[in-house]
Symmetry: C2
Subunit: 347 residues, 2 copies
């Protein structure tokens, strides 16, 4: 049987390795074509796995001796811990021993380990973390999720970088999330084509002229959560601040709601009735619940699960990773990037 | 009696001139020291005012013949309509005929008319629109409002510009909003001093070294609504996108809340009970309700009321304008700016 081999950083994340292993076992039960390659502390991982009734050809362990903590400086840690789980995992991908990588460890260390070890796609200078989050549906058929990239790796971008974000976002949504013909929006200070600085104006013009891109034009900050665009293209500096602003507002909404209700509701019964509603609202607003963030631009897909992930979130991340491994994601991204560059040279 | 003379663009805004006049009359009843100088279509304003029992020395009308609409291009409109209400109003301030200006008309046209006619404070290159919005209270004594500047006029800023935003924000909160010793935060992609591009790093260093500024360091997007800083300093590009992102999230919160409640609540009675709560939540999240935005950096204060303002919002804007006219706002801002430049030259 031909398996999709998912390399899993078993030591990364707040609940590693227990919840990581549990999530992987759950993923293996969901999909019969997954093979898990766990990287981490061999004995404890083996102990946990032998308790599960998971066929031996569905998993193996590659030992590593170190772990990079969430609070460590990524650059220093990567240099000082060449045998840490994330570095070993990235090397397995580099050496063709796996088809995709999942980690719930430090984001900085994950990006840096991958940047050092895994080759990038043709014409891509740097990997990009995309964030998938829930958005309003404008129409019934809208997906209800959007993807925003970049959110911090590249503070200021060139036109080709921003175009590459559009292309990578489109293919990820199409091929992994099964969203047809995603709408692309460029985050700017106004919707008019003439808004923003020179790079944004030029990117707007370039995206407009690319027939293969369903470009809806500039969008404003308030459009992010409105679901008017499926792929939101932005410089890392802006994406980071916009997304965190939204996070803060979500927090305030939940708190304000709670306070107002506490003040106004007459009976304890009323409050009790509302408590599950509040929880649901909070979950709906917490975009970190919406699965892992894909790191794009490398020859293989990396899924960065949230550090707080428990088994279910890990399972989802692994299933996403398998979907991407089954698709022609990287090939189709590279093909579109080539078309873009060909157009540039033709002009 | 010495009045504070507030120049009022009677023709600007969705509900002009009726609601503007009504709001001004309300303000005059609140504060006995206000004198209103209405600029607009003389006959209709006179008709409205003569119906009100407002002493004749409390108001007069300066006629104008044109109005700049909300959708007009500010630059073209200002050039083609030199006798529009906002241009005439700005000229009255320039000529010393008024102590502060209030307009609910087009933001672009207001800023441009003021920039052309009203002298700027010493060492200030360009006016800045500040937005006052509700924020969480970290402690009981926190003000529960914050001010963010810039939100769009200056996309990319120099270090002295960002420092001037801090200084103007501090004095506005201290002298007009009566908030003692405001905490200043610099919006950035992380809290560490080394985060962000060169201008942000240098601004962080400069603000840290200024003993007269209560600088709490870099803040992130999620801190905007948390109320950790009273004055939030940012480039216009970022401020615009962050604030609009928050607006979109607020909208989504209210919509999500409504949908979840509709789905879950068992009885119509439950929904009815919640309807005032929802309205309150919406109002709390809608920062445009929180009075006018001061335009700072000129020799006189301009209050830009929201275009949708009705009488009560206009009254609040006029009362704010009077507070600023009574204070030494411009003088104290200029003094602090001078200290900042002296420090720079001393180093």
């Amino acid at each position: 049987m031909k398996y999709n081999r998912i390399v899993i950083d078993a030591m990364g994340g707040d609940h590693a390795p227990q919840e990581i292993i549990k999530g992987a076992v759950m993923a293996c039960k969901e999909s019969k074509t997954i093979q898990c390659i766990f990287v981490g502390e061999e004995n404890s991982i083996m102990d946990m796995l032998l308790q599960e009734k998971l066929s031996k050809d569905r998993w193996h362990v590659v030992p590593s001796t170190d772990v990079i903590g969430m609070e460590e400086d990524p650059k220093t840690a990567i240099e000082e811990k060449p045998n840490s789980s994330i570095v070993v995992a990235a090397k397995l991908i580099r050496d063709g021993k796996g088809d995709a990588l999942v980690s719930a460890g430090s984001t900085g260390a994950t990006v840096m380990a991958c940047s050092r070890e895994i080759p990038r796609m043709a014409s891509i200078e740097r990997g990009v973390i995309a964030t998938v989050f829930p958005a309003m549906k404008q129409k019934r058929e809208d997906p209800g999720i959007s993807i925003i990239l970049d959110i911090g790796a590249t503070l200021h971008c060139t036109v080709p970088q921003l175009v590459s974000f559009a292309i990578m976002g489109i293919h990820y949504l199409q091929e992994v999330m099964a969203i047809p013909n995603p709408r692309v929006g460029l985050l700017n200070i106004g919707t008019e084509e003439t808004k923003g600085h020179a790079v944004l104006k030029e990117t707007n013009k370039t995206l407009r002229e690319m027939p293969s891109i369903n470009f809806i034009g500039n969008i404003e900050g308030k459009d992010i959560m409105r679901g008017v665009a499926d792929v939101i293209v932005t410089e890392g500096y802006i994406g980071n601040i916009a997304l965190k602003s939204i996070e803060g507002m979500a927090e305030l909404s939940v708190q304000t709601g709670k306070r107002i209700w506490k003040k106004n509701l007459l009976s304890k019964a009323g409050l009790l009735m509302l408590s599950p509603v509040l929880k649901k609202l909070k979950r709906r607003l917490d975009y970190s619940e919406y699965g892992g963030a894909p790191i794009l631009g490398f020859k293989k897909l990396i899924i960065k699960a949230h550090g707080r992930s428990k088994a279910k979130a890990i399972m989802n991340a692994i299933l996403l990773a398998e979907l991407s491994a089954q698709s022609d994601l990287v090939k189709s991204m590279e093909k579109s990037m080539k078309e873009f560059y060909m157009r540039m040279f033709d002009q």
